[in-house]
């Protein structure tokens, strides 16, 4: 180790606060980005693993009609056509009420057909006594992993009460499978049962869900396709997970966008930290230069330091990410369960890409952000480097240029953002110049604020006030970076906060118009925002027969899997009084409803956006009688699903699809006072074991809002995390700033400034800095919100939202900036006021 490296290390150790905070700042930046990546990756991987586990070695699946595949079709494939590598599957979900509503996938298989498909079953399949015998001969028997057996606190022979499609049933444990490395993830949330039990439990009379197939070559595939009746498709196994992944795409992108925002804040802080550590040592660097150290050696030294800080920060960041991601994962998987599909994520998965991204951020970004300060430090003449005023005056000279460049950056960002495109990444790319632009405008704002506040400060606090405000300007090369970083952090919270609250009020308005009935009935579903469970059709007749019921709506939701896409089709039996609940984005309402009644379809806004469809476009749907074209009669605003919905009138739906039952029924009462009575009457209907969820308008509205809030909980969490990152950054830079003024403050003390005056001075200064940052953050925050609402959400989901500026959020932001600044000033103020002038002035 040469003496230069030693001197740099000594510097770092002599300034443990600054060193520690730099590492912490980088660590937090890395931690947030990495933990979001981990949460995203783990949840989609958990889902894929569970799909793969279920698909096993199947290369394809035969997907049937909306009500599945008849048993007889499977039989005819096997017997009449002699096709052997096929296996029938029924797949469902069960939840266990007395185990925290844990959800398991119930996989119904025919063990005789299974051997080529699912490895972990082969053990069980080869012996015809014991476990297998019970599974086969006793209805509702299941096998599960040994691990789950323990977790559920059950033994062989015990029964479990589960809820399946809204009905309570007992399952009997007939055996378990020991986990090993290969089957662990497959078995994690799996109950395996015989196909007969599954059919009985799911009440899929004479039907199975799909047929797994192993196809070896194209001729086999062709032969099989030729055997399929209309409406049946043969699709590749991978497609199932692909469509599931597509479903999550927009959600993941939005999460990533939040993490990117945190990343930008983090980068800024890293830049801030590195710049600081160089600026602070200009005198030292000047000394080194004047005793013959070359400029190359100086920049090498600074980069080396950056590397050390970067590496330490990255390591700490990964460690923190591990814990943060565990926490985020519970939120993310809750949201996925609310909105998309049932998945239980318990393992944390890390991909090489995540590690590379984290390292790139922590180490490379740190190095890059050290480049400019390093170049500056090494490029300066040794003598002028030692003069502090030099750097301040040089920055002051640059301000007009910086301001102009800032404007240019903002314009460049704006241009990038208004390029018409569906590309979300392009919009992120546009945010960056806007942020840099604002950062470059910071010095000019500082000058303006100083001009306005300097007289005020002087008036209020006398010379102490005047000095504290002036010194912001005098130290502008340092203060502007801290202020810009704080401003950006606060702006990010304003942006995200405003976006969420705008979205929220849009959704509430929409809910209030759309939910225009009084009582809503559905079957218990495992996915909150979707009704995957089905009500028996006779329930509607029973509801109609209730005296107080004036009118009703009903609908049936089906999933159409076609050409690798997953469409949600809503067949609505709407009473005319519900028509007003639909607000059309495109299409004349009267005309649209008329054509809807004639069999044309409506699309929700996200659906139309996603597939580029307009009123008058044709959409091909997979009906139970084959593919069929439908004309679009209208496009309506809808926030129920980011996947988008297709709506068709129920009568017309029944012409093309066989699906039975209803997903939901809503009821209008004759007299508002009878809502409670109607609710009670419906709840006490004889339903043959079918559980009904009966909710009033108010309850449904509130619970929908609750789901919404849960969905955006992650945004809140990230917002808080990025504030913490920002706070640490601000703390570190403000503290360094003040600590660095040791000599200056020492002179002031020596000249008679009281410790209390000094404390006041430091804090007045940071307060003003916080105010300046707040002033910049408010417009920037609203611009970020507008970008999130009008561009990023629109491009991700296709939703139109109203923009709501909430004064509360703005006030909160300003308070946040002020509090952060003041907190950051307390310690240095305290420390400086306690230091004796002699020590402060002593040269090293």
């Amino acid at each position: 180790m040469n003496s230069l490296t030693k001197s740099s290390l000594r510097y770092l150790f002599k300034h443990p606060w600054q060193f520690g905070l730099s590492v912490l700042g980088i660590a937090m930046g890395v931690a947030i980005v990495v933990s979001i990546d981990i949460a995203n990756f783990s949840s989609s991987r958990a889902f894929n693993l569970s799909l793969d586990a279920v698909a096993g070695k199947a290369t394809h699946q035969i997907i049937g009609n909306s009500d599945g595949i008849p048993d007889s079709f499977y039989r005819s494939l096997r017997i009449d056509n002699g096709i052997k590598n096929i296996a029938p599957v029924i797949e469902s979900y069960v939840s266990i009420p007395d185990s925290g509503r844990r959800v398991f996938k119930l996989l119904g298989v025919d063990l005789f057909a299974e051997r080529p498909f699912r490895d972990y079953l082969s053990e069980t399949g080869s012996s015809i006594d014991g476990v297998f015998k019970d599974l086969f001969t006793k209805p509702n028997s299941i096998i599960l992993s040994e691990d789950n057996l323990k977790k559920l606190n059950r033994t062989i022979g015990d029964s479990i009460l589960v809820q399946i499609n809204g009905k309570e049933k007992f399952l009997v444990i007939s055996g378990f499978i020991k986990e090993d490395e290969n089957n662990r993830s497959a078995l994690e949330n799996l109950f395996i049962t015989d196909i007969a039990s599954a059919q009985q439990l799911t009440e899929k009379k004479d039907h199975i869900d799909y047929i797994d197939v192993i196809i070896k070559n194209e001729s086999e595939e062709k032969m099989l396709v030729d055997l399929l009746p209309d409406g049946f498709v043969l699709q590749q196994s991978g497609l199932r997970s692909q469509t599931a992944e597509q479903m999550l795409d927009a959600f993941n992108i939005n999460l990533t966008s939040l993490s990117l925002l945190a990343l930008i804040v983090g980068l800024f802080l890293i830049y801030n930290t590195m710049t600081f550590s160089v600026i602070q040592r200009r005198v030292l660097i000047g000394t080194l230069r004047s005793i013959g150290v070359t400029s190359g050696e100086i920049s090498g030294l600074i980069l080396k330091e950056a590397l050390i800080i970067g590496i330490l920060g990255t390591i700490a960041g990964f460690a923190a990410a591990y814990f943060i991601s565990k926490f985020l994962l519970t939120i993310v998987s809750q949201t996925i369960n609310d909105l998309y599909y049932v998945v239980s994520v318990r393992e944390i998965y890390i991909s090489p890409a995540i590690i590379i991204k984290g390292i790139a951020l922590g180490v490379i970004a740190t190095l890059l952000s050290a480049l400019k300060p390093a170049k500056e430090a090494s490029g300066v003449h040794p003598r002028s480097a030692m003069i502090r005023s030099e750097q301040e005056s040089s920055l002051l000279k640059k301000i007009p240029r910086m301001t102009f460049a800032g404007m240019l950056f903002i314009i460049a960002g704006a241009v990038t953002l208004i390029i018409p495109s569906k590309n979300v990444w392009l919009s992120y790319f546009g945010i960056l110049p806007v942020i840099i632009g604002f950062a470059l405008l910071t010095p000019v704002v500082i000058i303006l604020v100083e001009k306005i506040f300097s007289p005020l400060y002087k008036k209020l606090f006398g010379i102490t006030g005047k000095m504290s405000s002036r010194s912001i300007l005098q130290n502008i090369s340092r203060t502007y970076i801290s202020i810009a970083a704080l401003a950006l952090a606060v702006a990010a919270t304003v942006g995200v906060g405003t976006m969420v609250s705008s979205f929220r009020s849009t959704v509430i308005d929409w809910l209030e118009t759309r939910l225009n009935a009084d009582v809503f009935i559905s079957a218990p579903s495992l996915i909150s925002r979707r009704n995957d469970a089905v009500l028996n059709e006779d329930i509607l007749d029973k509801i109609k027969a209730i005296d107080e019921v004036r009118d009703f709506n009903f609908y049936r939701e089906v999933e159409l899997l076609q050409e690798g896409k997953r469409y949600h089709l809503l067949a609505s039996g709407l009473s005319k009084r519900s028509y007003s609940g639909f607000k059309f984005k495109e299409g004349d309402p009267d005309e649209a409803w008329k054509r809807f009644e004639d069999g044309e379809i409506f699309l929700s806004e996200p659906f139309a956006y996603r597939y580029d469809l307009n009123v008058g476009s044709m959409l091909t749907l997979k009906t139970d009688n084959g593919m069929r074209d439908f004309k679009v009669a209208g496009i309506y605003y809808d926030y129920a699903s980011d996947q988008g919905l297709i709506t068709i009138q129920y009568e017309h739906f029944k012409k093309f699809w066989n699906a039975k039952g209803f997903s939901g029924i809503s009821v209008f009462v004759k007299d508002e006072n009878s809502i409670g009575t109607v609710k009670d009457k419906i709840q006490s209907l004889e339903t043959g074991g079918q559980q009904l969820i009966v909710r009033t308008y108010k309850f449904l509205r509130d619970s929908s809002v609750e789901i919404f809030d849960r969905t955006f909980l992650i945004a809140k969490v990230l917002q808080i995390l990025s504030v913490i990152v920002a706070f640490i950054g601000i703390l570190s830079s403000l503290m360094s700033l003040q600590l660095e003024r040791k000599r200056e403050l020492g002179i002031l003390r020596a000249n008679g400034l009281l410790p209390s005056q000094l404390f006041l001075m430091v804090n007045l200064q940071t307060l003003l800095m916080g105010f300046t940052a707040g002033l910049i953050a408010l417009p920037l925050g609203n611009i970020l919100a507008a970008i999130l609402i009008y561009i990023i959400n629109k491009r991700s989901f296709g939703w139109t939202m109203q923009f709501d500026i909430l004064p509360g959020i703005l006030a909160e932001a300003m308070i946040l900036a002020l509090v952060a600044a003041v907190l950051a000033g307390i310690y240095p103020g305290y420390k400086m006021s306690r230091t004796s002038p002699v020590n402060a002035l002593r040269e090293e």
């Binding site: 499977y74 015809i128 086969f136 001969t137 006793k138 209805p139 007969a196 009985q200």
Partner: protein, 307 residues
């Protein structure tokens, strides 16, 4: 069903087709699904291409739910997916319908019409065949020892018209072996003088023949002669090692002095091992020997389990 067949140009084949049905519980499955079942079907199908020294085998399982496998009396039919034994005409021969036997795998396929040439043979005591000293170690067992067989065999895409004679056994039981028994060697032999000889030797754990070993001779006119264990002298003359290293007998000298029978029995193809869920050797054999002082030849099937 084990049989020997040949084509008009003297290509020789053997086949075995067995359907096993197992009831997993005495109670009926109370499930309401079409798939609900307590019956498992298993089938073994082999073809021995004697001229080419090749052996094809396959195994299948199914439940009887969803009509994937099953058995019915009226319009007689036993099937496991597309492997089936099915009544073809409204015609019976010696109380047995004329049946069609069909089975196929990727490589081998058979499709035969079978018509019995002899009356039913009730094995053991009026059809109750005791296999061990303990209760339950017995089967109801009858045989049709000679069925005229015509049809086709397709091997690796090549079709052969064949004719010959089949042998059909039908048994049902609770268990087959007692604790001190290890397996059996079972001979089903069709001799050229239109007599058939069945002999099974139950093997004890120490390898010695069990007292419950027995057999029967079916004369040309269908009359029967019982064979007791003490009358038989069965000597192994050759052995064959399976790929897994298990030693199987592969040649026998079967002598029944009381009946003036002295037969040399040799596998038509040495590897006729069914490497399925329960491994066993069952295959076509050639017979040369002397009966009542005259040279005699024949063909048959030998089944060996418990090795």
């Amino acid at each position: 069903m084990k049989k020997y067949l040949k084509t008009s140009d003297n290509k020789k084949f053997g086949y075995q087709f067995t359907i096993f049905r197992t009831s997993l519980s005495s109670d009926k499955n109370s499930g309401t699904s079409e798939w609900s079942s307590n019956q498992i079907y298993m089938a073994h199908f082999t073809v021995t291409d004697i001229s080419n020294d090749k052996f094809y085998f396959d195994e299948r399982f199914s439940r009887d739910g969803n009509e994937l496998a099953g058995a019915q009396v009226n319009s007689f039919k036993v099937w496991l997916e597309d492997w089936e034994i099915i009544e073809t005409q409204n015609r019976t021969a010696f109380d047995l319908p004329v049946i069609n036997v069909r089975a196929k795998t990727d490589k081998a396929e058979i499709n035969f019409i079978l018509e019995s040439l002899k009356p039913v043979v009730l094995q053991g005591e009026k059809g109750l065949s005791q296999k061990g000293s303990q209760r339950g170690n017995a089967s109801y067992y009858y045989s049709y020892t000679n069925l005229k067989t015509d049809g086709k065999i397709i091997i690796e895409g090549k079709e052969f018209k064949v004719s010959g004679n089949s042998w059909m056994d039908r048994e049902w039981s609770t268990s087959a072996l007692s604790e001190d028994q290890k397996g059996w060697d079972w001979f089903a032999l069709q001799l050229d003088d239109t007599t058939e000889l069945m002999y099974y030797q139950m093997r004890r754990n120490d390898g010695s023949p069990d007292d419950f070993s027995k057999g029967i001779i079916v004369n040309k006119d269908g009359s029967l002669e019982q064979i007791k264990k003490d009358e038989v002298n069965l000597i192994i003359t050759d052995n064959w090692n399976s790929p897994a290293g298990v030693k199987y007998p592969a040649g026998w000298n079967l002598r029944i002095p009381s009946k003036n029978i002295d037969l040399k029995i040799n596998p038509a193809v040495s590897d006729q091992l069914l490497d399925v869920s329960i491994k066993y050797w069952e295959g076509s054999v050639n017979i040369e020997g002397i009966r009542n002082g005259l040279n005699i030849s024949g063909r048959g099937y030998v089944e060996m389990t418990g090795y």
